[in-house]
Amino acid sequence: MTPGGGSGPMKDCEYSQISTHSSSSPMESPHKKKKTAPKRKWEVFPGRNKFFCNGRIMMARQTGVFYLTLVLILVTSGLFFAFDCPYLSEKITPAIPAIGGILFFFVMGTLLRTSFSDPGVLPRATPDEAADLERQIDIANGSSSGGYRPPPRTKEVIINGQTVKLKYCFTCKIFRPPRASHCSLCDNCVERFDHHCPWVGNCVGKRNYRFFYMFILSLSFLTVFIFAFVITHVILRSQQTGFLNALKDSPASVLEAVVCFFSVWSIVGLSGFHTYLISSNQTTNEDIKGSWSNKRGKENYNPYSYGNIFTNCCAALCGPLSPSLIDRRGFIQPDTPQLAGPSNGITMYGATQSQSNMAAATPLLQSEPSITSEELPLPGKTSLSGPCATLTLGQPTPPSSMPNLTSDTGLTDMIPLKEEHEGHQFLTPEEAPSPPGMLPSGSPITHSHTMHVLSLASQDSLHEDSVRGLVKLSSV
């Protein structure tokens, strides 16, 4: 558009001036938008996580129980410091509130670290990587794959003399490293996956296991501490004024005692359990599956253990802390092909739609056959108002006593077992396009944009697989 000269009447002049602005700005603004407001990686993170403080804080999607944990700890400790400590510091020693304060500080610090940090999430494969893996799998299994049987996607590795099976994750399109597992609640593969803890609102994995352990350990001490001194307080008071009067004078103590009494069993028990796990260098996951137990066979042993308890403990608690691999506060690189220009996104739309359904359907099927009727889990960060994917599996209603935690992980872990046992029958539906009627609502372009990142180059191979899968489904 030529800049409006003074040739036309005033009206025209204004018009042309306006149009000059508007014609130049569409050219500039996408460019400008890319330059002035580049997106950080957490905004397009494909897992089901919540981010706060511009990506500094990372949590699971369901955080209700975490707030409950916070409230319980804060209220109980607050009441303790407000009502019991003045009496106790006078009567016995001011060291009591001091030690209590230190314990409280420690508990809060470790809790927040556990809840807010990246547990060791493995970023999903780039399209090139995924395509390369697919090619290698095809080569390894013979590309003709007679009878449309999808190849079993496992790799075997020998670690310290033990054969370990590495499984392929359909959601993340990677072979999971040893000890990694896919959390169905957060829809991420996590390194050295221990369990998903609703009480801290996050997965517990390689990067935050030591924080988690220090949290439950210090919380055990704090609970016992508060319980003991609340009892002491009441006893001392009742020596002066009688039991009932003592209770009337300090009602907060009753509440604290009740909370502590019920928490102490589960928390101390959990600390004991995790102490055992640390000293034998196992994860909750492995312990429940009995991966390294002697019952599986005489030759079965834990290849990751260092042999003695001391080294195992030191390695778990004082070993080096690996960095976060997802780089959530990093900026999306403008020169990566996935995000280049809108035309790509639109032309790929048709293709990505089916892949997004496929890719999104896989976590559904991976998580639990019984919840396939649930709504489609959508990528975490896109602000789709549609189905909010509250999986029943994720409902943290059961208390976190060990059996329930283990049941969570047990279910999460059933997935790889099922993949193995049901073999191709289980794998095929995963590769098929999603069942009808499960198209995502809400802005499809943002959706495809996100999925676009995942499935650019592997489009062809996925299409092939989906065709194979369709044929298989129809034959079944």
């Binding site: 670290r113 493995l122 780039t126 000890r179 080294t311 004082c318 080096p320 802390l321 690996s322 960095p323």
Partner: protein
């Protein structure tokens, strides 16, 4: 800086032919090690020994980062004693080694890989899963624009289209 310039020139003037992925070697457990097996696609592009040396050096860096020993215990205990608040202001040993690794990779790219039309990607950007090596096809015509420092001087880069 001319050397960085030539890397960018490489990206612009050459077209990406394919990518090779060097996978992790888990035989020693979960420590970060990469396979030293020479990928067949690089057969004509780079000497086997250079490649192996790069991977072995990277492996030794990662082993250093993940080493459990006196200093790592000290760091761990100190961090624990401060309820891990010290991580807010201190850089961990691992992070320091990662910086060294990234410098090393850049150096290797400038000296060895870019002149041969290859590019190493830091495994950290790929979730520590692979060392991604991008293989570029040289477009001979645009050879003039890229500064004579690295690509035209060594025969390896320029010969991409011809004789190989």
């Amino acid at each position: 800086r001319p050397q960085v310039h030539s890397l960018q020139e490489l990206r612009r003037s050459a077209s990406l032919a394919t990518k090779v992925f060097v996978q992790r070697d888990y035989s020693d457990g979960t420590t970060c090690q990469f396979q030293t097996k020479f990928p067949p696609e690089l057969e004509s592009r780079i000497e086997r020994q250079l490649f192996e040396e790069t991977v072995k050096t990277l492996n030794s860096f990662y082993a250093e980062a993940e080493k459990i020993g006196g200093s790592s215990y000290l760091e761990g205990c100190l961090a624990c004693a401060t309820a891990y608040f010290i991580f807010l202001c201190m850089e961990t040993h691992y992070e320091k080694v990662l910086k060294k690794i990234s410098k090393y990779i850049q150096e290797q790219n400038e000296k060895i890989y870019a002149p041969r039309g290859l590019l190493l990607t830091d495994p950290l950007e790929r979730g520590m899963r692979v060392i991604e090596i991008s293989i570029y096809e040289d477009r001979c015509s645009s050879g003039s624009s890229s500064s004579g420092s690295s690509s035209s001087s060594s025969g390896g880069g320029g010969g991409g289209a011809g004789g190989r």
